[in-house]
């Protein structure tokens, strides 16, 4: 008789650590964030903020910071697309052509994580510096003007994001490509499918779970990223993460920072839902 009872509680017990973690680090901060977004904007850090359901905060920040919001989505979308192209080719090569080097190649994909994120981003400052190899080569080839620079432009920011988030794209892609049964592609070839048709009819659809997971893992964090823009960008090209950071720490406008964070969250959730619907892969998430 004790057995079913014990089983019933075992499930909850196993859930407890995760549930406690989520309560402490997600639910409570979430309420605190939503309440901050509704603070009376006339308060200040020194005198204290009052929670007055001041919904107008949302309209205010959208009016002032909509261009930063769009820029973030645009940068994140572009970086995700580039990551997908580079990452797919890379994952495909490792999965199908890697042979016995597979594991080593995978380690190499993760290897950059052994160095600090900040150091890796700072090293882009050296690579793209105005008197560095890349810029002077491009200038000699007349691809960019002699007065133009790459560092502190949108190019450097997108390059930094692509670089930093590429492994998050490659790993899920690899996981789903590696599972594909090679005989299916062979069968397609036997049925006179060209390599292109075989890829688009067989390999690509079977790798979709990896594509969806990879794009989400890349897009979501890069839309909120502000480190790449801080170190590699220009003041005229701020992303929404930079605005939230400076509203919170420099201006100490908690109401504005909270409202903008909530908007960013809602926009991303909305985009992700639409994307998953379109990709027709609800069951995969």
């Amino acid at each position: 008789m004790a057995r079913p009872g014990r089983n019933r509680y075992t499930g909850y017990l196993l859930l407890a650590p995760g549930a406690l973690w989520l309560a402490a680090f997600f639910v409570i901060p979430f309420y605190s964030l939503v309440s901050a977004s509704l603070f009376d904007p006339n308060g200040s850090v020194l005198t204290g903020y009052k929670m007055t359901f001041h919904v107008a905060n949302f309209a205010t920040v959208i009016r002032v910071y909509h261009s930063e919001l769009f820029r973030s989505l645009w940068y994140a979308g572009l970086a995700t697309l580039i990551c997908l192209v580079i990452g797919y080719v890379l994952a495909y090569a490792i999965a199908f052509k890697g042979g016995r080097w597979r594991n080593l190649l995978l380690v190499l994909v993760i290897a950059p994580f052994f160095t600090s994120f900040l150091l890796r981003t700072l090293s882009w400052k050296l690579i793209l510096s105005d008197h560095g190899f890349v810029v002077s080569t491009l200038q000699n080839l007349h691809l960019i003007g002699s007065n133009q620079h790459l560092l502190n432009t949108w190019f450097a920011v997108v390059a930094g994001i692509v670089y930093n988030f590429l492994p998050f794209m490659v790993l899920p892609l690899y996981a789903s490509l590696e599972k594909i049964d090679g005989r299916l592609v062979e069968a397609a070839n036997d049925l006179y499918a060209s390599p292109f048709t075989a890829f688009f009819k067989v390999t690509w659809p079977l790798s979709l779970p990896g594509v969806v997971a990879g794009t989400l893992l890349t897009f979501i964090p890069s839309a909120g990223d502000y480190i790449n823009q801080t170190l590699l960008g220009s003041p005229g090209g701020r992303m929404v993460g930079n605005v939230i950071q400076s509203l919170f720490t420099t201006t100490q406008d908690y109401a504005g920072a909270g409202a903008l964070s909530v908007i960013l969250m809602v926009v991303i959730i909305g985009l992700v839902l639409v994307y998953i619907r379109k990709a027709g892969t609800e069951e995969l998430i």
């Binding site: 309420y31 605190s32 939503v34 309440s35 901050a36 509704l38 603070f39 308060g43 200040s44 850090v45 020194l46 005198t47 204290g48 903020y49 009052k50 929670m51 359901f53 002032v64 510096s129 105005d130 008197h131 007065n147 133009q148 620079h149 560092l151 502190n152 823009q229 801080t230 960008g233 220009s234 003041p235 005229g236 701020r238 930079n242 400076s246 509203l247 919170f248 720490t249 420099t250 201006t251 100490q252 406008d253 908690y254």
Partner: protein, 379 residues
């Protein structure tokens, strides 16, 4: 039905939870937030200061810090974790605002931030009997700031000038006026300015003929328009903290707004500090003892030690910032004769006459101005 009811309860409950949240006032009374002084048996001292602000240890000559440890027996834990006034404020505000310890006995902040913290009651008053050197030796121009007229709460660590710098290896035509940073086409995209609102906006207002110590909203707006336009046009590449020196040295930046001592300290002979034709901004960074610091007497011993003219001269000889201590110029004759007449360390009355301070702002002005400035600078 049940599902809808649960949803409604959850929704209403959430609204009630939200209603309870808010932040309280951070104002404190230093008399109530005072720790028992354990300096007598705890011979340690924890200080937070700005980077590159103290002479480093060397094998041949002990640093001023080593000498302090040897003569007093106090072990110093020195951290250079102050990179920006606002950022440091954000770091300690939760503790100081709720009368909790920051685990520091001292930190060093610029005039306006020191004024703000003293105003909200986060700073402990110093015992004048324990810092006799401070009151005897502080230079006249720093002795009576409006926000701490008797130096009861604060002691300047160093004072400095904000002006221009350029890299003569990459820029053949030197910069002379601050306005050139905004207007010269050959500097397009190769200019940085500082994230310190009072330095940057002060210098822009000077270049527009306004007085940073006494300006109108209209003059502020005019300066704001100029910096916004230059940022949007791509003339200004970035707004920086202490980290502008690397970009200037690498040639990514040809000319920039700079702090006097940084350039002398950078160790790159191509970097030149220029006092702009329009005038310079002057500021001081102040040693402050926060509430609940447990070793206040050790902190006072530190202040008293650095207001000894010989020690002050040794520090200034490394720092190249304005020395706040009388008699240090005389002491410098023995330490480094080359620096006795260095105008960056011991500015002449003529140089001081070209320096400007930034107007004290009301709290509501600070917020509005900082919001506008940070929307442009991106920090």
């Amino acid at each position: 039905m049940i599902k809808g009811g649960a949803g409604a309860v959850f929704g209403l409950g959430s609204l009630e939870v939200l209603r309870l949240l808010g932040t309280s006032s951070l104002r404190q009374n230093p008399a109530d937030c005072k720790a028992t002084d354990v300096s007598a048996h705890d011979k340690t001292f924890v200080i937070s200061n700005w980077p590159l602000y103290i002479d480093p240890d060397s094998k041949k000559n002990p640093s001023t810090l080593q000498t302090f440890e040897q003569t007093t027996g106090i072990k110093v834990s020195y951290t250079d974790d102050v990179n920006d006034n606002e950022e440091f404020f954000a770091k300690v505000k939760n503790q100081l605002g709720s009368c909790q310890s920051t685990q520091r006995d001292m930190f060093v902040l610029t005039d306006w931030m020191a004024a703000r913290m003293i105003d909200v009651g986060w700073i402990q008053p110093l015992d004048p009997a324990k810092v006799p050197n401070l009151h005897a030796n502080i230079i006249d121009s720093l002795a009576k700031p409006s926000w701490d007229p008797q130096r009861r709460y604060s002691a300047p660590w160093q004072s400095g000038l904000t002006g221009l710098a350029y890299n003569k290896k990459y820029l053949k035509k030197p910069v002379k006026a601050y306005g050139e940073l905004l207007s010269r086409q050959d500097l397009h995209g190769k200019v940085t300015m500082l994230t310190e609102l009072r330095d940057t906006m002060g210098l822009i207002m000077l270049s527009q003929g306004a007085d940073p110590a006494n300006f109108t909203d209209h003059q502020w707006q005019k300066a704001m328009d100029a910096v916004t336009k230059a940022t949007n046009d791509g003339q200004i590449r970035r707004f920086t903290g202490n980290d502008y020196v690397q970009d200037l040295s690498a040639g990514n930046v040809l000319a920039c707004e700079a702090w006097s001592g940084d350039i002398a300290n950078a160790g790159d002979p191509n970097l030149v500090f220029v006092p702009p034709e329009e005038g310079l901004m002057i500021w001081a960074d102040n040693m402050l003892v926060p509430n609940l610091a447990t070793r206040k007497s050790n902190a006072e011993a530190w202040i008293n030690y650095y207001y000894d003219p010989v020690v002050a001269a040794r520090l200034a000889d490394y720092n190249q910032y304005i020395c706040p201590v009388k008699g240090a110029q005389k002491a410098m004759e023995k330490i480094d004769p080359g620096n006795v007449d260095n105008p960056l360390i011991f500015p002449t009355p003529e140089t001081l006459a070209t320096t400007h301070r930034f107007m004290a702002l009301q709290e509501y002005q600070t917020r509005e101005y900082e919001r506008q400035f940070s929307d442009v600078t991106g920090v």
